[in-house]
Amino acid sequence: MSTRAQRAALRAYPRDYRAERGAEILTTLEDMGPAGRGHRQTLSLLAGGVRTRAGLAGGWHPQGVAAQGLRIGAFLIAGGYALVLLGLAWQQRAMHPTGLALLAAAWTAAAVVVLRPHRLAGAWAVAAAAAAELAWVARAGLHGGVLWFSFGTLAAIAGPCLAALIAAHRLGVPTRRVAPWWLLGVLPQALLLSGVVSGFFISSAVLAVSVPLVLLALAVAPLDPRPAVAGCVVLTAVVLWLATASLLGIYTWTAPMSAGRLLALAAPGVLLVAAATAGLRRLASPV
């Protein structure tokens, strides 16, 4: 007899997979005798189920998965930035009644298009939103440090987005449907970015959101490296933005403070790159 824990673990697999293979897997466990009833079997069923549900079992190529991770990263940046702009539009509604809201709409549209793995559509949408923002910044009457900071922010946001989308396009378009459970990460991502942009990056609230997110991406990387790949993309944008803010002396950070912020990002950056690489290697040859 298979144990109750194993039959529960089997539920980690999608329903249609269970209908097709469930009885066969339970038979194999029963055939194995005592060795088939241990925790090792239960854990391996859970891991297999999660991989299958995430769309990563079977015919996935690491390139397709890497491409998806890059697209998710670009989506998180564009979507998060759209929310940040929306917040700014509300804050500065007296000064800029419509301009910022329109920009937020443009970046929202770009984020939606980024989700569709259709050739370079996402990259063009991001380029269009960035061009609109460039035109707005040029006309908004900004000058000096604030003007350069606006340009720098735009480059830090649009640059990694475009690079990730172009790289994803070159890697190839994934063909399998994937459950978009990672969308749950959007809201905290927005909080993270808004925290960054409002200058409270190392505030406890932002840490409370970003640390679990990074830990989650690291934890699931052996099963699904996409969040780790996406995390690398997002972190690149954050580092570029911090570097811009530091160079321009925004928020009156001292040099050690800026260096400290950048160093604080180095550790999760290295871990995310390592986890993403290891996860993709494992996908290429999982056992």
């Binding site: 038979t27 055939d31 015919g59 040859s285």
Partner: protein
């Protein structure tokens, strides 16, 4: 691309005859001198992947006293992949063995 050891022995277990899940687990353990001990989740993940790569296929199904078993066999492509990998391993072993026989002393 080099096959990992478990994948190599899953394919190797199917050389002589089609096998069902537990048959593959047992045979892979025998052939690898006990090194490859497959869990069910790993085995079925690997079989799904190997099937999608066209290296194995379903040979048939049987139902005996309420137990459902599915048999798997190697495809021509699977046999070829296995042959290439064993050639690669043999070449790698030969290089080292010939040097060891020549009496190269460690520095």
């Amino acid at each position: 691309m080099a096959l990992r050891e478990p994948t190599y022995f899953i394919l190797a277990s199917l050389i002589d005859q089609p096998l069902h899940g537990y048959g593959i687990i047992k045979r892979a353990e025998e052939l690898s001198d006990g090194r490859v001990r497959l869990s069910a989740g790993t085995l079925y993940g690997a079989l799904d992947r190997l099937a999608s790569q066209g290296l194995v296929e379903i040979d048939g199904e049987e139902r005996v006293s309420g137990r459902e078993r599915r048999y798997y066999r190697l495809t021509a492509a699977g046999l070829q992949a296995l042959g290439e990998e064993s050639d690669r391993l043999a070449r790698a072993a030969r290089v080292v063995r010939s040097r060891l026989r020549a009496g190269v002393q460690p520095a």
